[in-house]
Symmetry: C2
Subunit: 347 residues, 2 copies
């Protein structure tokens, strides 16, 4: 039932597979037109498109048929293990951007990316699966909590690269943005604009980015001699940030600025501040982190710290492939990429 | 460098790994508290949480350490191959809901899900990788176009289940919603409310759901004796739907209803209709398809056709595992689940 192939009984290569010319003839179009349809490369008339599709289906045409059927050099794949709640993967734009960048970099090596989302019970099963040798290496994203995955995977002998500074003592290569420096620059900018009651809407402190952005905030306010400033935690979501913003205002009704640990959380803070009638940035300045497309869609547009997510993805792939080849340089083992403060309207 | 393990030099099992009791002692908490932290099961004080995390990291504790390190029954995984543009996977809520459902069903079998997103050049590489025996089977989602993946993968001998009716002649098991019946019911509802100039904002016709929802629309308007009604195509995105809505109004300025092939596209139509001053539903009634959370967030809330996405995911897993075990029943080879019209404010 699963192997049925209505029009290619020659599946084992005994008879010749249908050629592009045969598809074109059956569809009553030129070879050039059939090729355009099958490569999705240029526009053709809907009628010709449909005729070519029908003919290709009917004849069982497959592009580079040999490549599908025959054993060749084994294909190596890379796994991305996302250690985060399922919901977060689809709502925090970091993941879409990062995965897209990793896919693009791996495509240059003709390697597929397999993404798996682990948030608890399956961690050991995933570890055992990956260890069985089915992938060339593993990129671990959003690792966190009391039992981070990256240490366990690395100690199994798998090539591993972590995105974000690991909080555990296992020595694992990692790629990170300068979260601490970026956060410090954001808060120093607020200080330079005369803000003093600067709160921090923080990300979970059991993640590298959460811990480091908080540390950068603390660096800057301490250097300015400010104490007793409020910090509240969100879980990276807009809803959690709106609640945290409410707690911050309860603690410090006269606060004049908020540094949020992500753009999504900054958007949640903006939403809450507007609802309670605070003007942004006049009453409360808001700075985010990431520089997602979202930052320009929020009103007012977010001043934020840009981290080079696409570059992080590309560098993570290069680091991982170097590690898999036993050629990891000390520089690649701990790469920290610079961030940049982007000024818009919210601060 | 990748295998470093600062605190477990006993990686080969020569010395005993740290126990839960040792972690608890090092953290100065009870075994019960340490266990709660390490299982993320109940709330503990932030201080105790941090102390346990620190102790676990310092000692190199890993839960069920033996399970990670030793060969056991080989772990089998399932792959979900999403044949769609990267952007679509993260903006059309179908994918998040479907993947979540498949993950949950597979977790009951202790099997991980590996998701790979194929949109062109890597298709053959992915096919070769999967064929090498690294997965128990493949669920193909959003298959489309002149060279669908599911036929090729099935003809390689891999257990395959397709989500959505395949448009190609290969016999591959599939799970689908009753797209045609659901679409027909939506349009019949509009007809019953006295609407006559009913346009269709269609999904790509080279996908099963796109073709079948259009067919259901055509069934209903033909049965009512209506002809020359406009159809415009979107690519599942909000932006494409807004443009298609504009074309529909150009063709038929007095249209009084739109049946959109997805909630996301319905939201794009609503946005455009409001921008040009049409009242919904008074001037133009709008019906979507899916019943995503989005349907209740749009203003006015969308009348839509609910398809049971979570159930589709669960059934796809069961069908695939049955096929992999050689136990697929004829009923499982072609499952079509019912849809339901949900009445809200937009029509």
């Amino acid at each position: 039932m699963t192997n049925g192939s209505a029009s290619t009984p020659d599946r084992d290569g005994v008879a010749a597979p249908p050629t592009l010319a045969e598809v074109a003839r059956a569809a009553g179009v030129s070879i050039a037109t059939a090729s355009r349809v099958l490569n999705n490369s240029t526009r053709v008339s809907p009628e010709a498109y449909q005729r070519v599709c029908d003919a290709a289906s009917r004849l069982g045409y497959r592009r580079h048929r040999a490549a599908w059927g025959r054993a060749q050099t084994p294909v190596r794949a890379v796994a991305a293990v996302i250690h985060a709640a399922h919901r977060l993967v689809f709502t925090e734009p970091f993941f879409a951007r990062f995965i897209g960048a990793v896919e693009m970099e791996l495509a240059q090596h003709d390697m597929p990316l397999l993404v798996t989302n682990v948030s608890g019970t399956l961690a050991e099963t995933v570890g055992r699966y990956l260890r069985a040798g089915s992938v060339a290496g593993v990129i671990v994203v959003s690792d966190h909590g009391p039992l981070p995955l990256s240490g366990s995977l690395a100690s199994l002998g798998l090539p591993v690269t972590v995105v974000g500074r690991p909080l555990h003592p296992y020595q694992v290569p990692y790629v990170d943005a300068d979260n601490r420096g970026g956060a410090r620059a954001a808060v120093e900018y607020l200080l330079g604009r005369g803000r003093r009651a600067i709160a921090h809407l923080a990300a979970p402190p059991d993640t590298g980015p959460g811990a480091d952005r908080r540390a950068g905030y603390t660096d800057a306010v301490r250097a300015a001699g400010l104490t007793d400033l409020p910090i509240a935690y969100g879980d990276w979501s807009q809803a959690s940030a709106a609640h945290a913003m409410q707690r911050l205002l309860d603690q410090r009704p006269q606060l004049d600025a908020v540094f949020a640990a992500s753009d999504v959380m900054a958007a949640g803070a903006v939403r809450y501040l507007r609802r309670v009638g605070r003007r942004i940035p006049d009453d409360v300045a808001v700075v985010g982190f990431d520089d997602h497309a979202l930052a320009t869609q929020v009103r007012p547009a977010l001043t934020t710290v840009r981290q080079p997510i696409e570059q992080i993805g590309a560098v993570a792939v290069r680091s991982l492939l170097a590690a898999a080849a036993g050629e990891l340089t000390p520089e690649q083992a701990a790469t920290v990429l610079p961030t940049e403060l982007i000024l818009r309207d919210s601060a």
